[in-house]
Symmetry: C2
Subunit: 445 residues, 2 copies
């Protein structure tokens, strides 16, 4: 099967109109994706997305288009024989690697994830099933070991995978219909306490029993909200908070110590995404608390995750599906989390991120950690109307996905209407509400 052409679509939804997904830093996000379509001579299409929050999607699109030169014309079989070869051709490209992580690594991830999608579709398997069926030796060969062997050796990875393999048939049967346990953000910053309580009541009726609140406003109102939610749900329900990197290390300590009485499960992104030593300090400061530190949705590389995991800086490993270089990087991170006993609790939401992370949750819980005792996979019901195969939830869990590949097919009309800047949603929108000029930055500091 030959890759015959690539198309990259700048897809943007004007979610800023109703402040969907806003937080202290990202005040008016337009949920967006660089959507990659790799066409083949077989009729199958490889699809991937890189989620962004509006302006900047074109930066990713530019990069993905450039990288696609390295796959168009190649055979899928070259990739399936040795995924690490394409990974290195991208990530270690002797000129492009100068661009560092961020846009470059995300663009590499787009290409790799579309190839993995094609592979899974060619085998008529959902992504998680393709991954769980790989031999442990093959998984180890998919990983770039250069910078992580001091935390996890290939031999240790093999041991983890082989141990899970011995119970894999049973685990796959356990998860044949009901997939990973999920949690929801109920407490968006814009909502009143009564609105949040009503949201929680509805989610509880649907079977959810773990909820997250956004914090990072003034201390008093944050604490008041946490207290009100804890009183509403009682002492036994999981409650987490998320500060979206708003604080420095010292401010984080000052805020978090006031959260101690409320039996929280985790504090998410209290500080900068790459402040490993800051996380170490927070984890030591609050070592006797009910909660532990969580981060990863903006963890830019396996090297950052390596440090966070091996030093006990964080406890909950919140991989994102599209921040690092695709399946290959995520395999490395999930295996490191397994070695250090950290629950993999992927970051969801955005556009179609939940459609992707359900597969990683499945792979982790069947073929790596091999259990479902401690993990929570984020679920947010945003924009599921955009895709042909929305995620399904059953009693607070993901229903096990069955569509071949990632399940990232968008409705054609949705794609056309939301293509930036030519789709009908955008072409008549005032210029100041489009792109980088859309700069109504909430006053910071």
């Amino acid at each position: 099967m030959k890759i015959t052409s690539a198309k990259v679509i700048d897809l943007r939804i004007p979610t800023s109109d109703n402040l969907l997904g806003s937080d202290p830093f990202h005040t008016e996000p337009d949920y967006s994706s660089a959507v990659l379509h790799l066409e083949t001579d077989s009729g199958l299409r490889g699809v991937s997305v890189v989620f962004t929050i509006g302006a900047g999607t074109d930066w990713i699109c530019h990069g993905v288009e450039d990288l696609c030169q390295l796959v168009v014309g190649s055979d899928l079989e070259e990739f399936t024989k040795s995924p690490i070869t394409l990974y290195k051709r991208l990530i270690d490209h002797h000129q492009l690697r100068w661009l560092h992580d961020g846009v470059f690594r995300m663009a590499c991830g787009a290409v790799l994830n579309a190839m993995w999608d094609l592979w899974a579709k060619s085998e008529k398997k959902p992504l998680w099933k393709l991954l769980t069926d790989l031999e442990p030796e093959f998984v180890v060969d998919c990983i770039d070991w250069r910078n992580i062997k001091d935390a996890l050796t290939p031999e240790e990875a093999l041991e983890i995978l082989n141990k899970a393999k011995s119970n894999k048939a049973q685990r796959e049967q356990d998860m044949a219909e009901i997939g990973p346990k999920a949690y929801c953000t109920a407490g968006w910053l814009g909502l009143t306490n009564n609105q949040i309580k009503a949201t929680i009541d509805k989610l509880q009726a649907d079977g959810f029993d773990a909820f997250k609140l956004k914090v990072g406003q003034d201390l008093e109102s944050d604490v008041e909200r946490i207290k009100a939610m804890r009183e509403h749900i009682g002492p036994d329900i999981d409650l987490m908070v998320d500060a979206n990197q708003f604080w420095g290390v010292n401010e984080a300590k000052e805020h978090i110590q006031h959260y101690l009485p409320y039996g929280l499960k985790w504090i998410e992104e209290p500080i900068a995404r790459d402040d490993v030593l800051g996380y170490v300090e927070l984890s030591e400061t609050f070592k006797d608390a009910s909660f532990k530190m969580a981060c990863g949705e903006q963890g830019a590389s396996p090297v950052i995750f390596k440090q966070l995991l091996k030093s006990d800086a964080i406890h909950y490993c919140q991989i994102d599906a599209v921040r690092v270089a695709g399946v290959n990087d995520v395999m490395a991170i999930i295996l490191m989390a397994a070695k250090f006993g950290k629950p993999v609790c992927p970051h969801g939401g955005g556009i179609a991120l939940c459609n992707m992370i359900q597969h990683y949750g499945m792979w982790d819980q069947i073929a790596v950690s091999g259990h479902s005792d401690t993990q929570l996979v984020e679920y947010i019901d945003f924009l599921q109307e955009a895709v042909e195969d929305p995620v399904e939830m059953k009693n607070g869990h993901y229903a096990t996905p069955t569509t071949p590949g990632w399940g990232l097919e968008f409705h054609q009309e949705f794609l056309e209407d939301h293509t930036f800047p030519t789709g009908k949603i955008w072409k008549n929108r005032p210029a100041e509400k489009c792109g980088a000029k859309f700069e109504s930055v909430r006053k910071l500091n």
Copy 2:
């Protein structure tokens, strides 16, 4: 003075033809820059560059063009009144910050550095003189303190700057003609021992007495080369080595322990650019050695530098002029280095990087650390024919720069000939030697 328009030029030099600047990772670099010209109604032009090594320059250009929407139409006086305001409009842009560091932060730096250039030109001062003339309080207000106050408080920064200020007149007089002490890379990977010795002899005749060798090939030949150079220069001359991130932590230890007998001054980039805990481990392992760890040319943010400096992970702070978000970020990093007693030894070479870092060396040695006892500023004579004001060297030191601004004006003909892909150097070049397809990656691992 109003910014009336912006032009971004994709400038590439086919340096891969003679392997100029190659290392184990970057095997065939085409030294390149995204060159920004901000035009004004005064006739002055603000210039900045983002250095890259070929493919990927267009990624940076795309981003810089997007960001320029946020400055075209603004007044220089808005910027000079409060540089942090523009900094935050860029770096904390509520949609763009999702793009993380790398391409995004480098593009922000391009815009900021061009504004600083304009400011210095409007005052008819070289950049270093503009910076040294700023009041300590003003410098403190240029810095984004959100994520670094646990390492350096604004009050501590003020104290450092005020202490240097008390001796500033004397220091400025000391450096009125002879600027920062320099060092050179003499041992490029492609050269034979005899070629390297001849290079060193020539550099010594020109007054240099500190030299760097590239390592990262096989252990035996690396050690043989180090030994030969040490024998050639004798025991009292500074000798450093640079591995360009080629090793993992354990491989670095294995290699470096064989370097112990040769009285090296520093080991540069033995491991990944953001592996803070890896550097901590190496520094502890080799705490009794003659050498200390050095890195920073790919340090992607002040948060990474904060960790490297406060934990004694590195000793030599190798800032790059165009990797982080311009003067504002570099100010923060140089002040943190001063607090932790780490010599600022900037990364030079590339295209016109030396033209920029000489200003940072001056500012550090006059107005921050306030001495020249321990710093070495890299000097590489590459491509100085491209600019109107090449750096001048005097007896192993930078001659104090006097041109207003950064001194980044390129010869017009050089710019036109090397514009990618339309300039005459590129338009007839075979496609496989241009851009991302230029993928002759040396086999890695």
